[in-house]
């Protein structure tokens, strides 16, 4: 079963090790981990995607909640999830391929961030499946390098993960 865990915590050195350690000690491979600061000063929010046994993951969630720097842990309802990921793709493009690539970029609502001679960097955003398929689509050109941010997620509706919402 796939889970998207959202964690609000203090933005302090070592917090990443404490959090990721709880997953690795129980044999979970983290599929995706994204972290950044939030609307609250001094607080970060992690989005961690893992697949695994529900009961074991419930234990990880409770152990996370015990960490002194963790304020709120939340297993986001997959039915109500809004999920986004960001990718940058560096491509080598021959001159005769440019019109075709430009057409694809337009249809994907992607942006061209840089085009220096025959090397382009394009930017893709969407849920992870769309980013996957977009990368797949541009892979007919020569991909030199890709990088992805990992997923970030929020739940639809009023519920918020800062310990203050409903």
């Amino acid at each position: 079963m796939k889970h998207t865990i959202s964690i609000l915590c203090d933005d302090t050195p070592g917090v990443m090790t404490r959090i990721s350690g709880l997953f690795s000690r129980r044999g979970f491979n983290i599929e995706s981990l994204a972290v950044g600061n939030t609307e609250i000063q001094g607080k970060s929010r992690f989005t961690i995607v893992v697949s695994g046994d529900d009961a074991v993951l419930e234990q990880v969630r409770k152990q996370l909640q015990k960490l002194v720097h963790v304020i709120k842990v939340w297993d986001i309802d997959r039915e109500r999830i809004i999920e986004r990921e960001h990718a940058l793709v560096k491509l080598e493009v021959r001159e005769e391929e440019r019109p075709q690539l430009l057409q694809i970029v337009t249809s994907l609502h992607a942006n061209i961030l840089d085009s220096s001679e025959n090397i382009w960097i394009i930017e893709l955003t969407g849920d992870s499946a769309s980013v996957d398929s977009a990368i797949n689509l541009v892979s007919q050109f020569r991909i030199l390098e890709t990088i992805r941010t990992g997923r970030i997620a929020l739940e639809r509706g009023k519920k918020v993960g800062n310990g203050k919402g409903a």
């Binding site: 090790t17 000690r25 960490l67 963790v70």
Partner: protein, 557 residues
């Protein structure tokens, strides 16, 4: 030094004093010498352990016996890593200790400097929380917070790593910086609706059973627990850590259950229709195979740590909170159990299946019985191994902080230093250590510490020239080749005790033992009685199958 000025080391010691620390079990080294300098002008007394592991166990024993926080200290690098086993031991048994380590100066951290180790990184999985102090202005508030964390909620060890330049840095105490503790809010008060539901379930049960765990010890909830047992008349079994939750002689106490549990206790767990589990984490040595554990019972699980609920065993009704809050409220709402046929059935079974007494008058059970007559209501400390199970089975203790053992981690070498800590915490009590030749050897150097301090403790070593529990396992499961478990044949613990400054006597019969026990009654300080027993003794009962009732009762069974 100007008014309002301090150094990191001075501020640390001042805050430790303010937190009520009397002793700090410690070993010096380059990185913590500034702390020793500050201690030299303080009523807080450093105790020189002979190994940092000993220091950590002493702090642990001190905390367990006295009910407060235990403090220990080491230098950076090897000093810090030597604390690790002691910290892990405290973590597994939720014992509140504060471990302080010196660290290389900040500008050398990460450079593989001499005696540098990332001790906060190493101890993340075995501490409740830890700190690498980054700023002298933080020291005071961090110590206060660390003691609070160690001693509240589910208790546990905290580590404080302090770089040497912070210890020597001069700073203005008016600039102290507090750290936030927003995410920490342990649930103390049990949920009213759940307490009410639990009372309803208890009142409706036909075959109810109480499992008493170490949480009762940690919550100092002995009186509340005894009242609950008395009012409900429900039979009680206990875990190893829960041994002193209730007087062993209490008529409702069926004794230890689990892997080496009593037949009646394991039967009760297997046949109960309702289990009220109080402050236990359902460790695997208690439950045996989870698939068959208490298959007829609904479980009410009372624990201060929500992560324990459903971790190993599914709870039908959880109550998260302090046992000292929950039990009295539960007690008010239960009725005295009218149906006593379940209790009667268990009593009959217990009398038909007594503990195997051990052959001969100098077997371990016989030794413990003889020792018991000279120790009324002691604090009983054990090491780890076969003697530990014998002590848990055969040496009755009263309710209270009276049984100290390494239950979770099973740390050989825990006993002697923990007994030293216990003796310092409770000078009003007699401290008895039951150890084995293998365990005692693991921290024997602390006899020198005990002798120097002249702490009053008696160590009874069951010397069978074997790692007894290992031999028993080899016997049962590994074809009986005993090379790995032969130990101590050439050792005289009595002479070693004398060499390290303690009193020591070797005995090989019940009569000799009684003579020594009598002689030692008037001797103060650390005393070692080395009992030379036969090699063949195994400890029973022992679960050998997939259920708790699938066990070997004794040698003849």
């Amino acid at each position: 030094m100007k008014k309002g000025k301090s150094t990191g080391a001075k501020r640390l010691v001042k805050e430790l004093e303010r937190q009520g620390a009397r002793y700090i079990f410690a070993y010096p080294g380059g990185a913590n010498l500034p702390i020793y300098e500050a201690l030299s002008r303080s009523p807080l007394h450093p105790i020189l352990a002979r190994h940092e592991q000993g220091a950590a166990h002493m702090a642990d024993g001190f905390a367990r016996a006295g009910g407060g926080v235990g403090f220990c200290m080491a230098t950076s690098g090897p000093g810090a890593t030597n604390l690790v086993t002691g910290i892990a031991t405290a973590y597994m048994d939720s014992s509140p200790i504060l471990a302080i380590t010196g660290q290389v100066p900040r500008n050398m951290i990460g450079n593989d400097a001499f005696q540098e180790v990332d001790i906060t990184g190493i101890t993340i999985p075995i501490t409740k929380h830890n700190y690498l102090v980054q700023d002298a202005e933080e020291i005071g508030p961090i110590v206060e917070q660390a003691v609070y964390l160690a001693s509240t909620g589910r208790k546990g060890p905290i580590l404080l790593d302090i770089p040497k330049d912070i210890l020597t840095a001069e700073f203005s105490t008016t600039n102290e910086k507090n750290r936030q503790l927003e995410g920490y809010a342990p649930t103390i008060k049990g949920h009213t609706g759940q307490v009410k539901r639990a009372a309803g379930m208890i009142n409706g049960a036909k075959r109810p059973l109480i499992i008493a765990g170490g949480g009762i010890f940690l919550a100092d909830a002995f009186d509340a627990f005894a009242s609950f047992v008395d009012k409900s008349s429900i039979p009680v079994v206990h875990t190893l850590m829960g041994k002193s939750a209730l007087d062993n002689e209490h008529p409702r106490n069926l004794g230890l259950f689990g892997y080496h549990g009593r037949c009646v206790a394991n039967k009760a767990v297997s046949e109960a229709d309702l289990i009220i589990a109080v402050g236990t984490r359902f460790g695997d040595r208690s439950t045996g195979s989870l698939a068959s554990f208490a298959s007829d019972a609904k479980i009410i699980h009372i624990d201060i740590d929500p992560a324990e609920i459903g971790k190993n065993v599914p709870a039908y009704l959880p109550i998260v909170g302090d046992i000292g809050d929950i039990l009295p409220r539960l007690c008010e709402q239960i009725e005295c159990s009218a149906d006593s046929s379940w209790s009667d059935e268990l009593s009959v079974f217990a009398s038909e299946h007594p503990l195997p007494g051990g052959d001969g008058d100098f077997s371990t059970p016989a030794i413990l019985r003889d020792v018991k007559t000279y120790f009324q209501d002691p604090i009983l400390v054990t090491d780890v191994g076969r003697h530990q199970i014998y002590a848990a089975q055969y040496f009755p203790v009263r309710g209270g902080r009276s049984f100290i053992t390494s239950g979770g981690l099973g740390t050989m070498g825990f006993g002697l230093p923990a007994a030293i800590g216990a003796a310092l915490a409770r000078p009003d009590k007699r401290v008895l250590l039951v150890s084995g030749d293998g365990s005692f050897m693991m921290n024997i150097q602390e006899l020198a510490c005990a002798a120097e301090l002249d702490v009053d403790l008696t160590a009874v070593i069951i010397h069978d020239r074997r790692l007894g529990m290992i031999k028993q396992l080899q016997d049962a499961f590994y074809g009986g080749g005993f090379d790995a478990s032969k130990i101590g044949g050439s050792v005289s613990f009595a002479l070693a005790a004398e060499a390290l400054g303690a009193a020591g006597r070797r005995v090989a019969s019940a009569d000799e033992l009684k003579d020594v026990l009598k002689d030692f009654e008037t001797v103060r300080g650390p005393k070692v009685i080395e009992c030379m027993v036969e090699e063949e003794e195994n400890v029973y009962p022992m679960v050998t199958g997939s259920t708790l009732t699938d066990l070997i009762e004794g040698v003849e069974a």
